[in-house]
Assembly symmetry: C2
Homo-oligomer: 322 residues x 2
Amino acid sequence: MNTKKTYAIGVDLGATTVKAGVVTKSGFIPDQLSVDSKAKKGPAVVLQQIIFTIQEIFGKYNPSECLGIGIGTPGVVSITDSTVQHPPNFTDWAKVDVAKQIRNKFKIPVYIENDANCAAIAEARFGAGIEFKDFLFVIWGTGIGGGVILDRKIYRGPYGGAGEIGHVSIDYNGRLCNCGNYGCIESYVGQRYLSQRTKEILLATPKDNIQTKIEKLVDGDLNLLDPEIISQAAEEGDPIAIGVLEEAGTLLGYALSSILNVLDLRVVVIGGGVSAAPAFVYDAIIKSLRSRILKPHKEGVRVIRAKLGNTAGIIGAASLVL
Amino acid sequence: MNTKKTYAIGVDLGATTVKAGVVTKSGFIPDQLSVDSKAKKGPAVVLQQIIFTIQEIFGKYNPSECLGIGIGTPGVVSITDSTVQHPPNFTDWAKVDVAKQIRNKFKIPVYIENDANCAAIAEARFGAGIEFKDFLFVIWGTGIGGGVILDRKIYRGPYGGAGEIGHVSIDYNGRLCNCGNYGCIESYVGQRYLSQRTKEILLATPKDNIQTKIEKLVDGDLNLLDPEIISQAAEEGDPIAIGVLEEAGTLLGYALSSILNVLDLRVVVIGGGVSAAPAFVYDAIIKSLRSRILKPHKEGVRVIRAKLGNTAGIIGAASLVL
């Protein structure tokens, strides 16, 4: 088959699943699979899971036609030795040379990069960022991650740890973040917090035996709340859901204004699970960003939705090879 | 004279004065002068003042031995056409092509760069940053400016406006900044605010007819307060002066942690008028920075004092040529 002639494998390692896909030079994914990453069982087991996905692909696609393997991973990927350091939610993982071990196993080129950076690269090459030379990519999901695209390339920073925009503090006396800092934007707009905040407001709202739209969507079980449901309720006009998402967008805009002032960027591309939120959330982000950014930086400021959805990780990882 | 054989002219344009110096290849300044910049009289007059300083130098040093002229200026220097846009505190100045006009006048190479970037370049080549490939330069004076040095070069950003670290907000509900944003670090630790805050505390402190050290230094006239006097009082053990400076250092550290998380830098070099503050202020900065920065970024974090003082602007401007 023609599409098989030159392909790369993109591996998207997450704390829950390993996703791997066959990726063509035009960024198309003819085939992909997903397995449990077994992150709590230590690096050796995780590596075995990655190897399994690649072997599955090589069972169907000719290994000699594979250009190489790209891996996207949480944590910091060291700029000096490409080791993966301290990925959050992975047990017993200080520093592991994932790329080297996969290379030793399959004897083909293996490249590795931080997962947010991979998604940024994918959007730059094949997605919403294709028309922009420079932009800030935001992953808005459980946490907030980022990737800085400068002159169509990822800015990795001197140590490989650049773009940690989730840990820009918007209030030095604010909420305690998992990272130990106070007021990190992640602790205000991350997925878990959005659900928790919605729940709190619902519980504090006087009951008159009428379920709100959002309560109907979860059949009264507020532990089922997630950003998708909150977004759906907002689309249906639920004022609490609208309020929570609008507030989150406004706060995210505040953080973005500080970041763009430092980096001199004008375009923000938002991906990740929460990026599917309704258009009014984007309006809130851009409104607060434009109200706070320095005047000389204001011209041309745009906030747009990513295009590749949850395939960005696989495509970006494969792009390291392509 | 040997030092004359190859020299550049560095011009440091400020809202108060134009400083110009003869700068040798080793970053030495054998001669310099300073005139009123007449910033309130419009661009034509300011340009005339710059031309005057250069003519003064050419009266003493052979123009044919001059390699070129470098100019450091407030405001954004456009990356596309090198015009100087909206320098704060300059009257009737939207967009002026300073470099072109000086080039037309003297028929030698003229380069122009933002003043904070010039000072960062000077510290990178000849000052405190000489041993660091990558660092954040901070100008701590009336305002807070910054320059990002990556791989020994200045990061100008896609539009020439990078490094505006003074407008990183540490509190989205905080103090109103001159720029229109709330909580900008500049509005908490800028020179004017430090004096104002010291004055407020002194006025609110119960009097028992004993002058504090700081009041003695200004002979009771609190309008004379400035960071130099506050620093001197702190050195002499004045608790109010110590408190104000320590708080400023702590808040600056908070802002720096957000910035270093995004840029992946480990070294901060602080210049500008307030950088002469006592060592305990640096201790406060580094303590708060280390307490807030992401763990993977913490190793090797350093905050050091700039070395070139107020000659950094002239040297950095000349470095554009050298």
